[in-house]
Symmetry: C2
Subunit: 358 residues, 2 copies
Amino acid sequence: MKKHILVVPGDGIGAEVTAVGKQVLEVIAEKFGHEFSYDEALIGHVAIEATGSPLPAETLTKMKGADAILFGAVGHPKYDNDPSAKVRPEQGLLQMRKELGLYANLRPIKLFDELLDASSIKPEILRGADILFFRELTGDVYFGKRERLDEGNTAYDTMIYSKYEVERIVRKAFEAAQTRGKKLCSVDKANVLESSRLWREVVQSLAPEYPDVTVEHQFVDAMAMLLIKDPKRYDVVVTGNLFGDILTDEASQIAGSMGMLASASIGDSTGVYEPIHGSAHDITGKGVANPLASVLCVALLLDISFGLKAEAQTVIDAVDAILKVGFRTRDIANSSTPADKVLGTDAMGEQILQRLKA
Amino acid sequence: MKKHILVVPGDGIGAEVTAVGKQVLEVIAEKFGHEFSYDEALIGHVAIEATGSPLPAETLTKMKGADAILFGAVGHPKYDNDPSAKVRPEQGLLQMRKELGLYANLRPIKLFDELLDASSIKPEILRGADILFFRELTGDVYFGKRERLDEGNTAYDTMIYSKYEVERIVRKAFEAAQTRGKKLCSVDKANVLESSRLWREVVQSLAPEYPDVTVEHQFVDAMAMLLIKDPKRYDVVVTGNLFGDILTDEASQIAGSMGMLASASIGDSTGVYEPIHGSAHDITGKGVANPLASVLCVALLLDISFGLKAEAQTVIDAVDAILKVGFRTRDIANSSTPADKVLGTDAMGEQILQRLKA
Ligand SMILES: CC(C)[C@H](C(=O)O)[C@@H](O)C(=O)O
Ligand SMILES: CC(C)[C@H](C(=O)O)[C@@H](O)C(=O)O
């Protein structure tokens, strides 16, 4: 198979982890006889520094021309502490999502058995949990009108959804549920929000078309509790952009660590594969970031964008095998991990590559 | 001390749990020689059924005339499954908050040692956690303009904050931090939302007035993860209405169960004391609801509205003692709780009352 992949490292640890991801792609191509070509592009803070724009035109052109995008992270503390900054790294990320029509963000939350102890949640609560989140990604309060009023003393954002936006993501979630545990949980705040009532109406109106799927509605506050109280209860979860942002970060504790979670953003064109963890400037450049989320992004990319299921499974199996041997990065190690098994980013990458080549 | 208390049971298990709370007030009055008088009023679904309005004028008048309000819960599944209902129980709750100027919702999250095992989170993560949440309660997307557009096919809600609204709640949080661990964590989504950037600006501008308090900012997605990863890291947390709704429900797992959490809503006039749990129609009328959140509401009421610290502590000590003896309601029992120690609502209330009278 001949494919062109754009690597977009972005900010912070993005560069360190996508470097490992790219090497995994190279080894897979070699092993399975594919021809992958690569290019690289800037986004976020590094793009602002280089070009003034968080999503340079050149990056967008390259994105549209690629068969898939391996993404790092976006963000910089400099802007977080300066609420009045006009140009911000995150604008690049949001604009990319909008421009590429990436309306569905898939976040599989599944614990590798070996990491049962890495979580703050009890092993017996976690064992067997396997949730697939569908987060809407191009609507909601992320893209509604926002402004300052009253000489800057009042600020508003607009949480907004149209039926067609809800319908297309909810359909994807129903379809996924049909191939899995046949349960769909839709999360909203319909007891207060009009946009949530519209959301719920759409889910209710589509449900009869998927009679084999059991539908449940939860309010977002209750869900934030239930998710960690009894994660095994959930199969496919679908929700809006903001609630999905919050709940999937929370759900990272179900998978042991944020450093293990990959996501796929798909829609009208090129798919983007991005770890759930952010730019993590506190550990940037120290060589300790966990590259496994980026490696698992590669598995999602091979599976979803290229339909290469066997290749994807090979990558997942390699991660599994390396964890079984006992290797850990710092974020998933605990007091009983032997010191010589705690690896940095590159050493962990090296283990994965060797296993893939074997 | 002579005080007038309004009991507002509301919907679902509200009646069962406030009945116990009221008895606790009566015993405390007797024991400490206070003169408490009582009245009752309707809100929510029961008020709609009786009067057509979720917050009848008579209820509001009684509320304004009371020295404190012991509140139950509001909500009914009937409306949840009917997104198009025009009159809803929750409107009564929100209107009450607005009319009484209850802009600060305090939610103390503290684990009773005996409940270490009731949580889905590991005991070693929880032990010693003690967080005081300040949730803003009369602004944000709860009260901004909402409507349908485009023949009902689009819906929006407005997330809106003015500086004075943020300032008054943030000041209360800073003041509380000064009397506790001297740490304040402010939660927002300032990397995306303009209302969050305004929120962060206000926190930053007030910080120099409280030099003894260390301030930290977290994005709501990261906080949803950090809160359960390392709850001991937090002392006072302040956030907006929507994020506070989500994070405090999540935080109930830190306290073992939602059934243990009380909240105080305070502001310009009468304080309202309300469990964090909702109307819980699935267990309504079964006599199994945990009344301890309502009992702990009484402790907050005595402390905050009446300044009766010794009386408040007596109530907390009674709860502590009853848990130490091993009594549990179903929600906080586990497989090692002997069957004869698992009590229903009234029997648990009876234990508390006996302990208070002793
Ligand atoms: C960086 C930020 C704008 C982004 C979001 O909120 O979508 C991130 O948290 C994510 O989940 O991808
Ligand atoms: C019932 C609902 C409107 C309410 C809220 O969202 O504020 C509840 O969840 C709460 O936390 O008091």
